[in-house]
Amino acid sequence: MTNQVHAAKEKIRPLIEKAAEQIVMADFSDPSELESLSEAFFSVSGELGDEFPRCAKAARTAAEMLHQGDGGAQGEAAPDLQAIEQVLSGLQSLVEKDSADHEPGFPDGFAPAPQAHDSPDAGDENQDTLAAAADREIMDEYIAQQEAVIPEIEERVLAFEEDQDTEVLKELKRLLHTAKGEAGVIGLTGIADVCHKLEDYIHHREADLQADLLLEFKDWFEQTVLALKNDTELPASENLVGALKDAIESPVDDVEKKDAPCGEKEPEPAEKDPEPEEKPAEEDQGAGQDQPEGLMSPAEIEDPEITADFISEANEHFDISDENLLILENDPENEEAVASIFRAFHTIKGTSSFLGLTPISVLAHKAENLLDEVRRKNLDFDGEVVDATFNALDLLKKMNKDLEQALASGEMYVPPQELPGVFEQLKKALAGPAKSSSGGDSGKGQKESRDRKDSGQAEEKTPQDNSGQPSVQEPDSGSGGGQGPAGANGTGSKKTVRQTMKIDPDRIDHLLETIGELVIVESIVSQEASGLEQGSRDLERNLGQLKKITRSLQDIGMSMRLIPIDSTFRKMGRLVRDLSKKSGKKIELVMEGRETELDKGMVEMLGDPLVHMIRNSVDHGIEETPEDRKAAGKDPTGTIVLRAYHQGGNIHIDITDDGRGLDRDAIAAKAIERGIITTQENMSDEEVFALIFEPGFSTAKQITDVSGRGVGMDVVKSNIEGMRGNVRISSEKGRGSTFTLVLPLTMAIIDGMIVRVGSERYILPLLSIIESFQPTGDMITTVSGKGETVPFRNQLLPMFRLYSLFSVADAQTDPTSALVVVIEDAGRQIALMVDELLGQNQTVIKNLGQGLKDVEGIAGASIMPDGTPGLIVDVNGVVKMATA
C-alpha cells in the first residue's frame, strides 16, 4: 500500500510541476494552452486514481473547468484560475509533504470536504461563492468608501433641515448620485434603486422635503453597508421605498402629473431587493472568475521615477491610438493605422510589465493580441472588435490615470473593477467570426451590407463607398490633425514630425511670472521717464526698444502655453460615436478649427463642459428617431458642429446642432414653476435660454442616464466662468441651437477696463462690458424707494451703484455726473454706476494671495501701470451681490 502510494506520488510529481509552470506562464486567452493544462490535470487525476480519491476528484474538476473554459466562444464559463492554482498547490503539498488524501485543502467545490466524502459535484452555486470571494476586495473598497460618505450625507441632511440651503441640497444630490453610481457599478442594484428613488423624490418634491425621510434613507444605507461589511442579511428596503413612493405621489399643488409614470415604474426593481447581496455574485460571475485575484489586487509602485515617465509616455500612445482608431472606424482596411495602434499597445505592454504593473501589461497584451489578428487579416475591424479595442483603450487610460494618482499620493496602485469585464469582451472579440484569410470581395460585401442594416450605428459607414464624407469630418484639418480621410491615399497618418522638447511646467510658469514682472517694471520705468522734464532722445528710443522686446517676450511666453484645441476635440469624436450608438440616433460630428490654439490649462478644463454640452445636444437637441427628422424635413442624420475660432481677441467655441431647438415657452414655464422668474415678459430669448444654466433646471420629462437631472449645464456654466469666459445661446425652435463659449485667449491675461470709483480703481473684464453711457436725470427711475433702473436698448435694466456695493466713501453719488456701464453675465444685463472710465489695459492676473481668494465680487488682482495692484471685478459675483 505505502509503496503504491509512493509510486503514484512520484509519477504525478513531474506532471504537477509542469502544470505549475504552465499556469504561471500561460496566456489564458489562448485556448490551446488551456487545453494542454486541462490535459495535465486529467492525467494527474488518472494517476492519483483510487489511492487518493479526493485529490483525484479535485484534479478532475479543475481539468473539466479548464476544458470548458477553452470553449471560449461562449465566454461565460471562463475558468477561475485562482481556484485552479489552489488545487494545484493542494496537489503539490500532497506530493511534497507525504500527506494523506484528506489533508490538502482545496477550494470549495473542487473536492468533497474531508469529513463529508460524498458531497455533490462542483456546481454553479459554488462558482457563485468563488466569484463572490474574488469580488470581496472590490466590495471592501466600496464599503470603506460608503462608510465615509454616510456621515457626509447625514451632515448635509441636517444642515439642509436647519436652513433649507439649496447649495447644501445640491451637494446632497451629488452625494446620492455618486452613491447610486458606485452601487450600480459593483452590482448592488438594490442600493442603486433606492438611491435612484430618493433622487427622484428630492427632484420632485424639492419644495417640501421631509428631512425624516432623508434620514431614514441614511439609516437604511448605513445598515446596508454595515450588513455588507459583516456579511449579514441586508435590511429590507420595502418600507423606505414605499415611503418614498408615497411621498412622491402624495398630492401637492404643483406636482406635475407627467412625472408620475416615472415614479411608478421604479419600485418594481427595488422591491425585489431583500437579498441584494446575491446580485453582485450573479452579475459579476463571469468577470470574477476570469482572472486570478493577483491581477486585481493593489500593487506597489516600484520605481516612481520610471513610472512617472511611463505615465506620460503612455498618454502619448493613447492619443495616437485614439486618432488611429477613429481613422480605422472609417477605413477598417487601413493597415498603417492598425500597425500604429498595435505598436502603441505593444510598447505599453513592454514598459508596464518591466515596471511590474501586471494589470496594465496583461490588458495591453490582450488588446495587442486582438489587433494582431486584425493585422494578420484574420479578423475584421468592426462591431465587437471595435468596441473591445475602444474599451480596452479607455480602461488603459483610466488605469494610467489611477496610476498617476497613486504615484502622486504614494499609495498602492489599485486596478479598476472593470478590468475583468473588458478582458471578457476582448476574448469574445478575439473568438468572433474569423474571416477567410484572403479577405476577398465576398467578405467585404457581407460586411458592407451588415453595416448598412445597422442603422443605429451612425459611425459605422463603409468608407469604400463614401470616403468623401467620413462621419468624423475635419474640413479644416490644419496643423493639428493632418489625417484627412485616410482611405483616399492609404497612407493617411504620415506627417512631418516636429522636434519638441519636454519642459517642466513649473519652469514655464516661473518664466512667465518673471516676464510678467518685467512687463510691470518696464511700464513703471516708462511712466517715470515720461514724467521727466528734459527727457533725452536716447532714453526715449531705448525705452521704446525695451518696450518692444518686452512685448515680444510676453507674446512668446504666452505662446509657450498654447496648444491646439485638437486634443480635446478628438475626445468629442469618440463621445458622439458612443452616444449615438447608445441612443440609436444617427449623428454626424463635424469639427472645424481644430488647430485653434488655447492655453494648455484651458484646453484641459474645456473637456468637461464640452462633454456635457455635446451630451445635451445629442440627448435633447437631436430628434429621437431618423423618422422624426424626416418628418420635420431634415436629413435623417443629425449634425453637430464643433467649431473653434478667434474673434475679437477671444476664442469662440460653437456647439451647433440641427435638432429641435430650445423651447422658449417650456423653459419659461418651468422657470416660473420653480420660482426663478415670475413672468417671461420683457425677457429676451437669450435671457430665457440662460435659465437652463440654473442649477437643477431641466425640462426633460424623462431622466435618462445621459442627461436630464439638470446638473450638467450648471457644471458648464461654472467651469466656463472659472475660465473667465461666458456662454451664449441662440436657438430657433425646430431648427437647432448654437451654444457659444466665449473664452479669453489665456487665463493668465485679462483685457480690462479700468474704472474709477471715488479714490479706488477697479478693473472690469472687457469681455463682459456691453456699453457705457452717461445717464440723464430722467432716465433713472426708482422702484419702491430702493432699486433703480435705467433704460437701455428698449429694456429697463436694474442699476447698481458700485460704490455702495464696495462701500467706497468718496465716490460720485449723483448719477447724472457719473457713468453707467452695462455689463452682461450669462445673458443677464445690469447697469453698474461708476465715476469714470480710465482706459483699457491688458494685464497679468494674480490672485489675492491665499485666504483672500474668496472675496465676494472680486475675481483677482492685477498690477496697474503705476505699480500698485488693481482689483478685478468678478462680474458674476457682483450681479449676485446686487440681486441678492
Partner: protein
C-alpha cells in the same frame, strides 16, 4: 497638583523650543517678537489697495515685485486704535505656513526695533487673561534686560478658519 506639574513640565519643554532669534517691533508702546525664520523682508510703507467687503484689519493688497500679497494691520487685529502712518511705519513680509502651503503676507507695524537672541530661560508662558484677551497667537513672553516682549505665533494671526470666516462674514 500632579496634573498641574505635568502641565508645567510640558510647558517648559515647549518653551525651550522657542529659544532663538526674534525680530522685534513696536505697536503703540508694546514690544513684540516674530521668529526670524518666518520673516522674509521688511519694506517701507507703500500704497495699499483696499479690498472691499473685508474686515477693517485687512488693509488690502500690495504689489511685492509683481506678486500680489495681502497686508493686515496688526494694530487693528489686536484691537489697538489705528495710528497715523509715520516715517517709521513699515511692512514686515512674513511667510506664514498654512496646512498645505506657505503664504506670503505683509503686516503693518509701527516701528521695527532689532533682532534679538532670546534664550529659553528668558521665556515664560503667556499669562491667562481669561476670555477678555485673546492669547491664542501668543507663543510666550520674553523678559529681556529692559522690557517684556510678546512672542507672536505668526501662523495663527490669520488662521485658515479666520480667513474663511472673514471672506464669508464680509459677504
Amino acid at each position: 497638583m500632579t496634573q498641574a506639574d505635568t502641565k508645567n513640565t510640558e510647558q517648559d519643554e515647549s518653551l525651550a523650543g522657542l529659544a532663538g532669534k526674534y525680530l522685534t517691533f513696536l505697536l503703540e508702546d508694546e514690544s513684540y517678537g516674530i521668529e526670524i525664520l518666518k520673516v522674509q523682508e521688511i519694506i517701507g510703507m507703500q500704497t495699499i489697495t483696499r479690498i472691499p467687503r473685508t474686515p477693517e484689519y485687512v488693509k488690502g493688497v500690495i504689489n511685492l515685485r509683481g506678486k500680489v500679497i495681502p497686508v493686515i494691520d496688526l494694530r487693528l487685529r489686536f484691537g489697538i486704535e489705528a495710528a497715523e502712518v509715520s516715517r517709521k511705519t513699515c511692512i514686515i513680509v512674513v511667510q506664514v505656513s498654512k496646512s498645505d502651503a506657505s503664504v506670503t503676507m505683509g503686516i503693518v507695524v509701527d516701528e521695527v526695533s532689532e533682532v534679538l537672541e532670546i534664550s529659553s530661560n528668558e521665556i515664560e508662558p503667556a499669562p491667562s487673561f481669561g476670555t477678555r484677551v485673546e492669547t491664542s497667537f501668543i507663543l510666550g513672553m520674553a523678559k529681556t534686560e529692559d522690557s517684556v516682549k510678546i512672542l507672536l505665533d505668526i501662523d495663527r494671526i490669520m488662521s485658515e478658519e479666520e480667513m474663511d470666516a472673514l471672506a464669508k462674514s464680509a459677504g
